[in-house]
């Protein structure tokens, strides 16, 4: 049996797996908090049966925690749903900020583990591109992952958008003097270069400014 490795597809699957694993971790955390809050309510009920007076404020606090975590889980699942639907069509018109905001949301845990703060800033007017939504998500992650690695603990990475000539651009900015320089592996890696090529995009790294720019062709922008 023989097969041909499609580097873009393989890298995409790896990216999809990484994101879904992170989402499952987040949901596990939510379930753990609900588990402890429900457990504490149970503990307090058992103590009340033994004669300890029930403190309504304590019950209210735990009920509030459970409701807050349900809201949080709802937000996580909405992100997961948007992400899952990014593979529905191989080409469509997408709002670039919507995509950048989604990838920032999906990357929140990765940023937190590295001690990096993320912010996505909406453009003054909507910028849309016609592209493969999943490949675009992957390309945005590739850039963000690199900038977070280059920035490290205590830094803030801002995702901003603009248009220049025939390009719609996403800026991943950590700021001047922030990049550590000399990444261990070339950026973008070979498989990532194939992804960028598939999108007809370009990546520009400005070490001095602490910025990566992902430029996407806007010539076929959706109306």
């Amino acid at each position: 049996m023989s097969y041909q490795i499609d580097s873009v597809g393989e890298g995409g699957l790896r990216f999809f797996g990484k994101m879904t694993a992170s989402i499952s971790h987040e949901i596990k955390n939510v379930l753990s908090i609900i588990n402890e809050s429900a457990g504490l309510l149970d503990d307090l009920t058992i103590l009340a049966e033994k004669g300890m007076p029930l403190d309504p404020a304590r019950l209210k606090t735990q009920a509030g925690k459970i409701m807050k975590q349900i809201q949080r889980a709802d937000g996580i699942i909405k992100l997961m749903n948007r992400f899952a639907h990014s593979v529905d069509e191989s080409e469509k018109g997408v709002d670039l900020f919507d995509m950048a905001d989604l990838i920032a949301g999906l990357s929140a845990r990765f940023a937190s583990v590295r001690g990096v703060e993320l912010a996505a800033v909406p453009p003054k007017k909507p910028i849309s591109v016609r592209t493969n939504p999943f490949f675009l998500q992957h390309a945005l992650w590739v850039c963000l992952d690199f900038v977070m690695d280059q920035s490290g603990k205590g830094q803030k990475v801002v995702l901003g958008l603009d248009e220049k000539e025939n390009w719609a651009r996403v800026h991943f900015t950590a700021g001047p003097g922030v990049f550590k320089g000399s990444p261990g592996t070339p950026f973008p890696a070979e498989s990532e270069t194939a992804l960028i090529r598939a999108l007809g995009a370009e990546i520009e790294v400005d070490e001095a400014k602490g910025e990566v720019i992902l430029s996407l062709p806007s010539g076929k922008a959706a109306s």
Binding site: N29, S32, R114
Partner: protein, 123 residues
């Protein structure tokens, strides 16, 4: 038994601490590696319960730092991932008996703490 809980999810760690307190266990908690190390410097904990993935510092690295501060301290690792890699990392550091997946069953956690304390006392 004095226990230090470390997890970046504050609502998780505070509620678990409250439940352990109700069971007569003396617990402090921290949501960061730095906070955990500060507490360990001034408190002789017997056991630390660590999330495998703590922001800015992994649970494994934090364990190594806490051992320098409190050489006799025992560790229980907890993870939300439950992946093979996490399992290998957790069990390699703490032993298979001292590794739990979230959500944690409090009775099992207390059993593990008791076993870890017995190990500590036998050393």
């Amino acid at each position: 038994m004095r226990v230090l809980l470390v997890d970046d999810e504050e609502e998780l760690v505070t509620t678990l601490a409250e439940r352990l307190n109700l069971r007569g266990i003396d617990v402090d908690w921290a949501t960061s590696g730095e906070g955990a190390m500060q507490l360990a410097k001034s408190n002789p904990y017997d056991i630390a319960v660590l999330d495998v993935k703590i922001p800015k510092i992994s649970g494994i690295r934090l364990k190594n730092e806490l051992v320098k501060i409190r050489p006799g301290m025992k560790f229980i690792f907890v993870t939300g991932h439950g992946s093979e890699d996490d399992f290998r990392a957790g069990t390699a550091e703490a032993g298979a008996g001292y590794y739990l997946a979230k959500p944690v069953n409090i009775d099992i956690l207390i059993q593990k703490m008791g076993a870890a304390l017995r190990d500590k006392e036998e050393e």
